[in-house]
């Protein structure tokens, strides 16, 4: 987090959870950045990362684990999906390389 702040970046977590659930989650894990609620899945659709999950033979569409790094011009600089999105080091590396202005 310190590295990301030093690189002039802000971080948002995003899921389909409600703000209330996200707030409890944020408190539980002590996260310092905002967690955003995409309850109508609008942003998941915009970003093309709705994914079907099976739970007890019912289907649910939730987010695919994905990390996007967006520069100050609003241009996507990196996209990481699934396993590679687990490790934040690449996002940190991308942010660190971006121009300060």
């Amino acid at each position: 987090m310190a590295k990301l702040e030093a690189s002039d970046a802000v971080v948002f977590g995003i899921s389909i959870d409600s703000p209330a659930a996200n707030n409890a989650f944020a408190q539980k894990i002590g996260v310092t950045f905002p967690l955003l609620s995409d309850m109508n899945r609008k942003v998941l659709k915009q970003y093309g990362i709705l994914k079907m999950y099976n739970v007890e033979k019912e289907e649910y569409d939730w987010a695919q684990r994905t990390t996007f790094v967006i520069d100050k011009k609003g241009v996507i600089q990196s996209v990481e999906e699934e396993a590679s999105a687990i490790n934040p080091n690449n996002a940190v590396a991308v942010c660190t390389k971006l121009p300060k202005k």
């Binding site: 987090m1 310190a2 590295k3 990301l4 970046a9 802000v10 971080v11 948002f12 995003i14 899921s15 389909i16 703000p19 996200n22 707030n23 409890a24 989650f25 944020a26 894990i29 002590g30 996260v31 310092t32 950045f33 905002p34 967690l35 955003l36 995409d38 309850m39 609008k42 998941l44 915009q46 970003y47 093309g48 990362i49 709705l50 994914k51 079907m52 999950y53 099976n54 739970v55 695919q64 684990r65 994905t66 990390t67 996007f68 790094v69 967006i70 520069d71 100050k72 609003g74 241009v75 996507i76 600089q77 990196s78 996209v79 999906e81 999105a85 687990i86 934040p88 996002a91 942010c95």
Partner: protein
């Protein structure tokens, strides 16, 4: 600072970890979508509520900050 960093690392791992294998299984039938967005594309703007019920507009950060969006499956699932 070190503690904060560690917490963030743990959170990122929790966000994106796969410890829930067995309780939430992605379909194996090839329906997994790969995002069509790629490096060099404009990030679609959005407005969402944060965990304090305040609106966050992605466009507010244009020209000011780099933004990292970490999409996770569900709160409390380590998924």
């Amino acid at each position: 600072m070190r503690t904060t960093h560690l917490k963030t690392m743990l959170f990122a791992a929790a966000l994106t970890g796969s410890l829930v294998a067995g309780s939430i299984d992605a379909q194996q039938d090839g329906k997994v979508n790969h995002t069509s967005l790629k490096a060099g594309d404009m990030a679609p703007d959005f407005t969402l509520l944060d965990n304090q019920w305040k609106q966050v507009h992605l466009s507010d950060y244009r020209g000011r900050k780099n933004v990292v969006l970490a999409f996770y499956v569900l709160a409390f699932t380590e998924g």
